[in-house]
Symmetry: C2
Subunit: 115 residues, 2 copies
């Protein structure tokens, strides 16, 4: 069975992850449309390696994007359209969020021997 | 407004994250009970710094646990009860999962200035 496209498929480590954990506000307020647009924009950014995200029925969301380098992450953060989305996020869409930038050192999955 | 207990509150970086992204199988098959037990066990492990997790209505789950060191992560992975849960996970609860061990380099949130 092929692995679902919900899973990112970055190359072998090392690479970087931006871990975004967030509590959404009630209602949509333009979120779905902007989130789709931002995800599409990220896909075209230099050094983008993939995205995984999920959200429960109470609006607790975790989204992880994978990147080649810290420099790529900084460039994406500074992207104008992304800046606008970040501002909207703070104002409208999120009660709270945490962002953690991490260097992935090793990786394995259900199909590989564990490290 | 205090930050929801759904958010982990690890100390300042550096620390480590185990990123677990998974597609659940349909049905419970004893998962909820074991997951609660394993989460409680993790809390008591040396070097444990917190947990964040969420799952959508289609069973796509992301759980991230935070740890002081890679050594603590290896010890937790080798814990006997956790080993049993891992085996059940592969056999019963998950269609697929990915595990990434990462070193958190920097962190900020909605309330702090961004880096």
């Amino acid at each position: 069975m092929p692995v679902s496209p919900k899973f990112a498929q970055p190359p072998e480590p090392p690479y970087y992850a931006v871990i975004f954990t967030a509590q959404r506000t009630p209602g949509d307020n333009g979120y779905e449309k902007m989130a789709a647009r931002i995800a599409e924009l990220a896909t075209g950014q230099p050094g983008y390696l993939g995205l995984e995200g999920t959200e429960d029925s109470e609006g607790f969301e975790i989204t992880i994007s994978y990147w080649e380098s810290e420099e790529c992450i900084r460039d994406w953060k500074a992207h104008l359209d992304h800046q606008i989305a970040q501002k909207q996020g703070r104002k409208l869409w999120y009660e709270h969020y945490e962002i953690r930038v991490a260097r992935v050192e090793r990786a394995y999955n259900m199909l590989t021997l564990t490290l």
